[in-house]
């Protein structure tokens, strides 16, 4: 297993968000984690890249216990991971090209010319070639998300973590982002973890789907297995029927 979260507990004050979250991500696959708003999906994702450390439990990435790594080891590990933020988190003061090139610059392995070429290639991949000198404030939400994706793939990471990549987007832009995620997996062999509550999207892009409910993984399987499950909580969520959730709890 390439990414393994084992019995992760995390609380913020008295609010216990993760209560024994365990999930193994298979290499080369795209795994979606679904769940209601505020269920802790993003919290779980942030543990993988070390933005949060578990109160209890372990997070393993490529055999390294993320919660126990010192700062330098953590930064080394992060070079293998691309992170696509929910609202893109582009740096306001930088152009699109500078945003995409940030990770490459940090690697200190590339000349300015190589960075330029790589940035242009990544922007082309997300159909944003003509925007390299624009500022993030000049882009729409969908365009910002695509640039966020370009930034995440620029360093050719082994893993990409997507935090609600299609939330708030129109159906066409959602389909474009979904196709990009599938391309990342098919063409670059990236292992993906996608946080979403968009079921259409989750079924379209995922090899496996897991549902987070009450701080734990309630269900894990292929999209077809999820569609066929009899678990009322899962059914209630994917069919948008709160009465099933109410009956189960």
């Amino acid at each position: 297993m390439s990414v393994d979260l084992v019995d992760v507990h995390k609380a913020f004050g008295r609010n216990e968000v993760l209560k024994g979250f365990s999930l193994a991500i298979r290499e080369g696959e795209t795994t979606s984690v679904i769940g209601g708003s505020g269920s802790g999906k993003s919290v779980a994702l942030k543990h993988i890249v070390g933005l949060l450390r578990p109160d209890r439990g372990e997070v393993w990435v490529d055999g390294e216990n993320v919660g126990r790594l010192d700062q330098e080891s953590l930064y080394r590990l992060r070079r293998k991971i691309g992170y696509v933020f929910q609202f893109a988190a582009l740096f306001d003061s930088m152009t699109i090209a500078e945003n995409v090139g940030m990770g490459l610059k940090r690697m200190e392995e590339f000349s300015d010319e190589e960075i330029r070429e790589r940035v242009d290639a990544c922007l082309a991949m997300v159909d944003m070639e003509g925007y390299r000198d624009r500022l993030p404030s000049e882009l729409s939400g969908g365009q910002r998300k695509r640039v966020g994706l370009a930034r995440a793939i620029a360093t050719r990471p082994k893993y990409i973590l997507y935090d609600e990549p299609t939330t708030g987007l129109d159906p066409i832009t959602t389909a474009v982002i979904d196709r990009l995620i599938v391309r990342m997996s098919d063409e670059l062999g990236v292992t993906g973890v996608v946080i979403t509550h968009d079921m259409t999207s989750a079924f379209r892009i995922s090899d496996r789907v897991a549902m987070l409910y009450d701080g734990r993984i309630r269900f894990e399987g292929t999209p077809d297995e999820m569609k066929a499950t009899g678990d009322p909580v899962v059914r209630g969520f994917i069919e948008g029927r709160p009465e099933l959730l109410g009956a189960a709890t």
Binding site: K46, V49, G50, L51, Q71, Y75, R76, R78, R79, I81, G82, Y83, F85, Q86, F87, A89, L90, F91, D92, M102, G103, R106, M107, R151, T155
Partner: protein
């Protein structure tokens, strides 16, 4: 009779939050100290920050200094009338401007301009996850954002204050000639009378600590901002209030330590 504990609870919560904020700021200070060796990360941003914090603050500092110099000269003359020779106006303008009003008024003004700006900028970066994004791209956000700002503040505040002192004295001199019926030799006689080069050093030492304070407080509140726009607003306000208070405490501290 039921006694409400709400005020006590609120007081307790406030005290705990203050202690936690001090703790977080302390950790940030330690992290900033540890990040000093990452010159490659903060070095490229130092000049930009020096320009923003220092050069960008010159107009407001000079504006304040000019009018302070004018007021000092007029008030000195008003106070001395008949009792003290008028050339002491130069003494009072010089001493007060260099030792006290130049550094303190500039520090207080810049806690608004520089500290609030830093808190708002870093606070916005925090709530829009830009600081998290830096981390995921393997940048140390303390080295990248905090260290260059604190260093720039520490280096540039004394320079701005020296300029402000000079302009304040010049304004006092001009006012003495224009409004107080004094001559230049009279004003300069008073200015030189008790002038000690140490005064300028004292002013610069004090200003450097004000620069460190304003930028560090802005970074601490901005870096640990929570919530959305409201959180950024709180961080900004607290930065101005806390750094102003620390400036006044430091002012008294340096006077007691270095002028005794």
């Amino acid at each position: 009779m039921l006694v409400s504990l709400a005020p006590v609870q609120a007081l307790g919560r406030g005290a705990l939050q203050s202690v936690a904020a001090v703790g977080r700021a302390g950790y940030l200070g330690l992290d900033a100290g540890r990040a000093l060796h990452k010159v490659g990360m903060w070095g490229p941003h130092l000049l930009t920050q020096m320009a923003r914090i220092g050069v960008g603050s010159v107009p407001i500092a000079l504006f304040i200094a000019t009018f302070t110099g004018v007021v000092l000269a007029v008030q000195a003359s008003y106070t001395f009338t008949g009792a003290v020779p008028l050339y002491f106006v130069g003494t009072l303008v010089g001493k007060t401007m260099i030792l006290e009003l130049g550094p303190v008024l500039t520090g207080l003004a810049l806690s608004g301009r520089v500290g609030a700006n830093i808190a708002a900028e870093l606070g916005t970066m925090r709530v829009t996850e830009q600081i998290d994004a830096l981390e995921t791209l393997a940048y140390d956000p303390v080295a990248y954002l905090v260290v260059p700002r604190i260093l720039a503040g520490t280096i540039m505040f004394p320079m701005v204050v020296v300029l402000a002192n000079a302009i304040g004295v010049l304004a006092g001199w001009g006012t003495s000639l224009a409004l107080l019926d004094m001559s230049s030799p009279q004003f300069l006689k008073g200015l030189k009378l008790f002038f000690d080069p140490w005064d300028v050093q004292f002013s610069m030492i004090k200003s450097a600590t004000f620069g460190t304070t304003v930028t560090a407080v802005g970074c601490a509140f901005g870096f640990h901002t929570r919530g959305g726009a409201e959180g950024v607003g709180h961080a900004t306000t607290r930065t101005v209030v806390v750094s102003s208070m620390i400036i006044l405490v430091l002012d008294a501290f340096w006077a007691a330590v270095l002028l005794q």
